[in-house]
């Protein structure tokens, strides 16, 4: 077994206000992995990343990048890291090319190599046409890609991305996923945080679900979903008003009493969703059970779905992940 590129043991960060942002996190990332931190806003993802990027000191615990402790060898760690934070941080009065070149110079990329690498990245990120325009004139998607190019200019061993597609329109998001997959294929180890289930599911080899500063579960998306076991069958009910809906939901529950593959019945605004093991095979029996009582239940729609990471999150944290954008705190005082 090769040694991990990122190694975190029992990492804790308590802010001066007393907030326990990270509460004893342990994980490791192997070379070439694309590792995802999945969790709601405020779960401790950004804090962990800031510790790994040497921007924040941990309260206790160990964090190593390429075998180097982030606390004692910050400069060596920085040389190996590429970092892109939650909102693209660019010099808006500099051109796209100037932005990449400055970060490259700070990383001491030799001049000839820097020129070549900058051209290559501008091309790769589809920014060659606008390379001479001020970054301040770029669209959201272009800013993201330029930020990513800055993070890649020195060919880092590890790329750390905090919410790489936050605030992007669906089209730009899918395009960026393509870029990230390509970078990962080139052998760069990646750690990204996200609160988008589809993103973690599509991109990551391994996902850690983080909530309230702790990792609640980790594994490949397939493993995590397999751990859920049951599929979801949603029934859309034709109800006249809330009382009728409640009555039909109770009927469903009663009629399915003793139906062996059933694990849970959850009332929903549109009807009811059922957690059923091997839903495909159980479906005919399910329909027969529901049919026993004549018109007590009026089904107008039915859908079967495999477990998603959303379900995994629900199972381990007891609630659904919030998908609203992070609120930027307003700094008051002066």
């Amino acid at each position: 077994m090769t040694s991990p590129v990122i190694e975190v043991q029992d990492l804790t960060k308590v802010y001066s206000g007393g907030t326990r942002a990270v509460d004893g996190i342990t994980f490791s990332i192997q070379p070439g992995e694309l590792f995802g931190f999945l969790g709601p806003n405020g779960a401790g993802k950004t804090t962990t990343i800031r510790v790994l990027a040497t921007l924040l000191r941990a309260t206790s615990g160990i964090a190593r990048v390429a075998g180097l402790d982030v606390g004692t060898h910050p400069a060596d760690v920085r040389r190996r890291l590429g970092l892109a934070m939650q909102t693209p941080t660019l010099d808006t009065f500099a051109t796209g090319r100037e932005n990449i070149e400055l970060i490259g110079r700070m990383h001491r990329v030799p001049a000839a190599e820097l020129k070549r690498r900058t051209d290559e990245l501008l091309e790769l990120m589809g920014l060659a046409q606008v390379a001479r325009k001020m970054a301040g004139t770029y669209s959201g998607g272009m800013r993201r890609r330029l930020d990513l190019a800055c993070a890649l200019v020195h060919r880092p061993e590890v790329l750390i991305l905090d919410e790489p597609t936050e605030g992007l329109d669906p089209q730009s998001r899918i395009a960026l996923w393509g870029e990230l997959e390509r970078i990962s294929k080139d052998g760069t180890t990646m750690l990204l945080t996200t609160h988008y289930m589809e993103e973690a599911d599509r991109l990551c080899n391994r996902v850690a679900i983080i909530d309230n500063g702790r990792i609640v579960v980790d594994g490949s998306p397939a493993q995590l979903k397999a751990g859920i076991g049951a599929d979801t069958v949603t029934l859309q009910l034709d109800a006249h008003g809330p009382e009728d809906l409640a009555r039909q939901q109770t009927n469903v529950r009663d009629q399915l009493h003793g139906f062996e593959p059933l694990e849970a019945v959850t009332p929903e605004s549109f009807g009811v969703s059922l957690s059923i093991r091997g839903a495909g095979r159980a479906l005919p029996d399910l329909m027969r059970s529901l049919d026993r009582n004549g018109d007590g239940v009026r089904i107008v729609g039915l859908a079967v779905s495999q477990p998603t990471l959303d379900d995994v999150f629900l199972k381990y944290t007891g609630r659904r992940i919030r998908t609203e954008a992070a609120d930027q705190p307003i700094i008051l005082g002066w």
Partner: protein, 262 residues
């Protein structure tokens, strides 16, 4: 040790070029700096044209009030060039660009040097603009090109030293508004200098203030270069005053910067 200095120079150089770019690419930056001293030069030289008749002015050797006024407005320009200099670094602290730089293997203090060093050039060039305009309006420069160069160096050094009055509040309050407001508190120091009238015409307490006012030292070194000739004693005093001012303010700046980025 030499490696450290080499690193600092390399990093500050490229970060400094970026700071300069940010400055000259937004014309509002330099138009705003030039405008106020230029208006003062133009309006006051007309408004108080005859003030030169007062006995206190005779000793100075300035032929006109404009000639008396110009050195002060050159100093004012250097003053305005740096009065809000802490704001841009604060914006980048807030939006995360400073973190992006800090995540690269550079010395943290290079980020500060990269902001500070270009202020020499910005102040000198802006002051040069007012110097040129005042000559167009009728002021003279007796010591010629060399004297003009010396004036720009003095203005540049003053700008770098004085920038601390903006950096320190910026780093301590972390607020652009507070930085802007606090810089207003320093304006009286400029207005109470010998920019407008010689000390002989001031009340006693103002004369005392001006015995300690670094802006007065700067103006009194520039004025002879324009109206009479080299006054090395005045230049020496100005350099000493700027040296002390710079050491005090920039030590405070360094402390506040370390505190901000700790």
């Amino acid at each position: 040790m030499t490696a450290v200095i080499g690193d600092l120079i390399y990093e500050s150089w490229y970060l400094g070029l970026r700071t300069l770019r940010r400055f000259y690419r937004v014309p509002a930056n330099w138009i705003g700096i030039i405008a106020f001293p230029l208006i003062q030069l133009f309006v006051f030289s007309q408004l108080f044209k005859d003030i030169i008749q007062l006995p206190g002015f005779r000793a100075g050797g300035s032929g006109s009030y404009l000639a008396y006024l110009a050195p002060g407005q050159i100093a004012f320009t250097a003053f305005f060039a740096v009065a809000w200099s802490g704001s841009s670094i604060l914006v980048e602290y807030r939006n995360g660009y400073m973190d992006k730089l800090r995540a690269t293997p550079i010395r943290r203090v290079s980020i500060l040097f990269g902001e500070l060093a270009p202020l020499f050039l910005e102040s000198a060039v802006m002051a040069g603009g007012i110097l040129a305009l005042s000559i167009v309006l009728g002021a003279t420069i007796r010591t010629g090109v060399l004297g003009a160069a010396l004036i720009l160096v003095l203005a540049g050094l003053f700008g770098m030293a004085w920038a601390g009055t903006s950096f320190v509040p910026a780093f301590l309050t972390k607020s652009e508004q507070a930085t802007g407001t606090l810089s207003l508190l320093f304006f009286p120091i400029a207005f109470m200098s010998t920019a407008f009238v010689p000390p002989a015409l001031m009340p006693g307490w103002l004369q005392t203030v001006n015995a300690w006012n670094p802006i007065t030292f700067l103006i009194e070194a520039i004025r002879p270069l324009m109206v009479s000739g080299y006054d090395w004693a005045a230049i020496g005093k100005a350099l000493l005053a700027l040296g002390i001012l710079g050491t005090v303010l920039q030590s405070a700046t360094l402390w506040a910067f370390r505190r901000l980025t700790a």
